[in-house]
C-alpha cells in the first residue's frame, strides 16, 4: 500500500496539492451511506477533512473517517454524492488532504462523550479510535430519525465503545433526540471531560448549550458550503470566520461567537439559508 509520507509524499502530491488513489473497497452502510476505503494513507487527525475531486464535475469536502487507509463515508444527497456512489473498487479518486483543524483531547481527560448524526457518526469513529489509543474512554451517542439511519454501530461495538442510540420515532434504541440521551447520561451522574459532535447543526447547537450549562468542554465540527477549501474564496464564512480555516472544529465558545452558528448557512451564491 502506498503511504504518502516523506519524499514520496513530496513527489507524488505536491502538484497543486492533489493526490490520486484507487478505491480498494466500498461498503454499503445503510440505504444512503457508503464507505469508500482507498488504497493509500495520509497522515491526518480526527476532525480534519479532504476536498474530494471528481474531474469535470465538482469537488466537495468530506470528513476523514480513517487516515490510513484513507476512508470516507458519503451520504447520497445530491449530484456529487450520487456520482461518488457510482464509483466502485478500482476506480480512481482524487483529493486534497488533510485540510482544516482537528478535534483535541484535553490532557488528563479520562472520559469523553461523542455525539453524532448522519455521516458525522462515521467521522467520530476516527476520534473514538484515537481516544482509545490514548487510554481515554469514549461514550458514543448516535442520533437518528429512525433505525435505518444509524450507521457504524457495529464498528463502535468492535472498538469496545459503549454506544447509545436515540431515534426520533423510537424504532431503534431509546426514543428521543441525541441531546435527550446526553441529558439522561448526565442526569445519571456520568461525568465527561469533553463533549464532541459532528452532525446536524441544530443538534450541535443544542449540545453546546447543554455543555455550557454543565460547564463541560465541547468541540463541534461545523459544515458550510466550501469553495476553495484553503481560505481565500470566503464562501464558507459562518459569520466572521472561515470554516475551512478556523474550523471545521470549533469549541462551543468560539462557535457561539460566529454570527451564523445555529442560525443559517449559505449557498454557493452566498444567500442565507436558515437551518
Amino acid at each position: 500500500m502506498r503511504r504518502w509520507v516523506g519524499i514520496m509524499e513530496a513527489q507524488e502530491r505536491t502538484r497543486f496539492g492533489y493526490a490520486t488513489a484507487k478505491i480498494a473497497e466500498v461498503r454499503q452502510e445503510n440505504y444512503r451511506v457508503k464507505t469508500f476505503v482507498l488504497d493509500c494513507g495520509v497522515e491526518a487527525r480526527p476532525g480534519q477533512f479532504a476536498m474530494v475531486w471528481i474531474p469535470g464535475m465538482d469537488e466537495k469536502p468530506m470528513c476523514i473517517v480513517n487516515d490510513d487507509p484513507l476512508t470516507f463515508s458519503v451520504a447520497k444527497v445530491g449530484p456529487f454524492s450520487s456520482k461518488l456512489h457510482g464509483l466502485g473498487a478500482g476506480d480512481k479518486i482524487s483529493f486534497r488532504a488533510p485540510l482544516g483543524n482537528s478535534f483535541a483531547i484535553p490532557t488528563g481527560a479520562k472520559k469523553i462523550i461523542l455525539v453524532g448524526g448522519g455521516y458525522g457518526v462515521a467521522a467520530l469513529h476516527f476520534l473514538a479510535r484515537v481516544a482509545k489509543g490514548k487510554g481515554v474512554e469514549p461514550v458514543m451517542v448516535v442520533g437518528a430519525r429512525k433505525r435505518d439511519d444509524v450507521i457504524f454501530e457495529g464498528d463502535f461495538a468492535k472498538l469496545g465503545v459503549k454506544t447509545v442510540v436515540a431515534t426520533d420515532d423510537g424504532s431503534g434504541g431509546v426514543k428521543g433526540t441525541a441531546i435527550d440521551a446526553v441529558r439522561q447520561l448526565l442526569d445519571a451522574g456520568e461525568k465527561f471531560d469533553c463533549a464532541y459532535a459532528c452532525g446536524p447543526e441544530m443538534m450541535m447547537h443544542a449540545l453546546a448549550a447543554v455543555a455550557q450549562k454543565e460547564d463541560m468542554a465541547c468541540q463541534l465540527s461545523l459544515e458550510r458550503f466550501m469553495g476553495c477549501g484553503i481560505g481565500i474564496c470566503g464562501k464558507c464564512d459562518a459569520g466572521g470566520g472561515l470554516v475551512c480555516q478556523g474550523g471545521p472544529v470549533y469549541n462551543s465558545r468560539a462557535a457561539f461567537k460566529l454570527e451564523e452558528f445555529g442560525i443559517c448557512h449559505r449557498d454557493t451564491m452566498g444567500n442565507k439559508i436558515r437551518w
Binding site: Y18, E59, C228, C233, T268
Partner: protein, 315 residues
C-alpha cells in the same frame, strides 16, 4: 513606528494605512470584511463583486494553489454573489462592525447594466464604487472583457458615473491583458472615472492534473494572481501613472506580498495597495504585517510619509 506616517487619502476617504483588501478575497460577508479590517489591519476593504442578479459561479475546483511551486494561483470563482441587494445589506452590516472605508465592487454584462448595478450599490453609501470590467474567468459567458478596448471600457464608466451621486467616487478596475492599459485608463478617466484599480488577474491560465489528464479548474481556465503577477502589475501601474500624470489615484494591485512590494507599487504610482492572494499565503494579518515591514523599510531608506512614495520612481 514614530516618525513614519502610513496614512493616506483616497478621494476623501481617510485610510490609516495604504493597504486595501482586493475584491473577491474574503469579501463575501459583512462580518468577514469587518474582521479583515479590524483584526487583519487593512486600511480599507473592497467587497466581492456583485451583480444585479445572484450568481452561483463555477463549480469546484475554483482555485489552484501553486504559490509554493511557482508563485502563482489560478482562480475561476466565476463571480458568485448573492446579488447587489443582498450586498447592500452585507455592507450595512460591515458599517455596524467597522468604521474603516469600504469600496463596493460591481460587475455587469453590458454598459447599461453597469450603470444600474452601480446605482443600486450606491444605496449602501460606499466610500467608492469599483467597476470590475476585467474578470477573466467568465469570458465564455460575457464575451471579451470590457476593459480590452477604450470604447467599451469608457462606456461602462460613463453609465456608472451618470447613475451614481457625485459624492461617491468611481474606480475602473482594469486588466493587465489589455494591449495598452494606460490608454484605456485615460479613456476611463475621460469618461468620468475618479480613480483606477490596476490590475485584475492576468491570463486566463490553466493547470492540468497529470494523473487525471484533466484541467483542474471546473472552468478549465482561470485568472493568474500572486507574486508571478507582480512585475506585470507594477509595469501597468507605472504606465497608467505616467500617462495620467498622477492626476487620479490608482489602487495598485497584483502580487503584493510584503512591505517591499507595497512600497514598490506606490513608487510605480499607486496611492493605495490592493492585496488579495497574500491574504491567503500570509493569512488575514498580512495587512498589519505589510504595514510593519513598510515602516521598517521606510525608516531604513529615510522615507517618512507613505504619501510621498507615490510615483517616486518616475524620475
Amino acid at each position: 513606528m514614530p516618525g513614519i506616517d502610513l496614512s493616506t487619502n483616497l478621494l476623501g476617504a481617510k485610510l490609516e494605512n495604504p493597504t486595501v483588501l482586493a475584491s473577491g478575497i474574503l469579501g463575501t460577508t459583512g462580518a468577514l470584511m469587518a474582521s479583515v479590517a479590524n483584526e487583519g489591519g487593512a486600511g480599507a476593504i473592497t467587497s466581492k463583486s456583485a451583480s444585479i442578479k445572484p450568481r452561483g459561479g463555477h463549480p469546484n475546483p475554483i482555485v489552484v494553489d501553486a504559490i509554493a511551486e511557482g508563485g502563482w494561483m489560478l482562480n475561476a470563482v466565476g463571480l458568485s454573489n448573492p446579488g447587489v441587494e443582498e450586498k447592500v445589506e452585507e455592507i450595512a452590516h460591515y458599517r455596524k462592525l467597522c468604521g474603516k472605508p469600504m469600496i463596493a465592487s460591481v460587475f455587469a454584462s453590458t454598459a447599461k447594466e453597469f450603470g444600474e448595478c452601480a446605482a443600486l450599490i450606491a444605496r449602501a453609501k460606499p466610500d467608492a464604487i469599483e467597476l470590475d470590467e476585467s474578470c477573466p474567468n467568465v469570458e465564455g459567458e460575457f464575451g471579451a472583457l470590457f476593459c480590452l478596448n477604450e470604447r467599451d471600457a469608457a462606456k461602462a464608466v460613463e453609465e456608472a458615473r451618470n447613475s451614481v451621486p457625485k459624492s461617491i467616487p468611481v474606480f475602473a478596475k482594469l486588466s493587465p491583458s489589455a494591449p495598452d492599459i494606460a490608454s484605456i485608463a485615460a479613456a476611463c478617466v475621460e469618461a468620468g472615472a475618479d480613480g483606477i484599480t490596476a490590475v485584475n488577474t492576468a491570463g486566463p491560465g490553466m493547470a492540468i492534473d497529470i494523473s487525471r489528464a484533466r484541467p483542474i479548474l471546473a472552468n478549465k481556465a482561470g485568472g493568474i494572481s500572486g507574486p508571478a503577477l507582480k512585475p506585470l502589475a507594477v509595469r501597468c501601474v507605472y504606465d497608467i501613472y505616467g500617462k495620467l500624470e498622477g492626476k487620479v489615484p490608482i489602487i495598485g494591485t497584483g502580487g503584493v506580498a510584503n512591505g517591499a512590494d507595497a512600497i514598490e507599487m506606490m513608487m510605480a504610482g499607486a496611492s493605495a495597495v490592493g492585496i488579495g492572494t497574500a491574504a491567503y499565503t500570509r493569512g488575514m494579518n498580512v495587512f498589519r504585517e505589510v504595514c510593519r515591514e513598510m515602516e521598517e523599510l521606510m525608516e531604513k531608506n529615510g522615507y517618512s510619509k507613505a504619501r510621498e512614495l507615490v510615483g517616486m520612481a518616475h524620475g
